[in-house]
Amino acid sequence: MDIIERLRKGIAITEDPFGDLAKEIGISKESLIREIRYYMENGVIDGFRVLADQNKLGYRVNALVAMKMDDCECNMFLENPNISHFYRRKEEKNFPYNYFAMVHCRDDDCLKKFSEELKKRNIPHVIMRTLKDLKGEKRNVHSSDA
């Protein structure tokens, strides 16, 4: 398997994360790190980070917010620490929105405030709350996620 495809699945948090992954792939730890650094020098990978569980950290109100803007008032989204993803996408006839933000909040009030801010700016939007994370194996490990 392509190493990028494997990295995308994530590396397990162990006492020796790169060593254990190298063993799994069947190469030495040194070659694995060399290969990763090669991708980093080429701009394919910027680096690594640890993926935290938003629910465990108290961010229980999460939503995908779709918005329609002709001119992006982007700063409002870039500066908001509750927004992790902010993308422009090609608008479709049956879904007339072109900007998408992932908003993470600890309570309903924070999400409501965000929506009010959009209303004040006359930005048409739809809020789609996260009801359940259906991705991957972790569902079995932490079934409390839902």
């Binding site: 590396i11 790169f18 701009g43 870039l78 359940k132």
Partner: protein
Amino acid sequence: MDEIDKKILRKIQESFPVSPDPYLDLSMELHIDRDIIVKKILNLSEMGYIKRIVPRFGNKFYSNSIGALIGASVEEDSIESLAEILNRYGEITHIYMRDNEYNLWFTFVTVDENKLKRFKDEILTRREIKKYVILMSEMRYKLNVNFGVD
């Protein structure tokens, strides 16, 4: 979580060192004993606060790939079984159930346009999907998954 946990958590959500002994690098950067770092991180993982180490992809990756956000309107009792099928695709990075008429949302990222076409033919034609929308990414302004701890 104590203050040291929070300090570590802030740091590793931002960046995790690529190194033969990443915990030693973290130890030097945070001025915390290496053994404490290892113990704390393994404990955070055990407790479910952190899930895994993932790459932050760079511009080269994104400029070569196409990204689609797909919303599907799926019969309620078929959602779980459909999600299981979606989980078999390495190109699918997020899958969420949401409170909208499009109740299942997921992302499909690939360098090969044909893979998305094939996925469309194989999966999006399934009977339990009443309708769907494919929203192609045009511009990524922000990607920063770092949850504040205080």
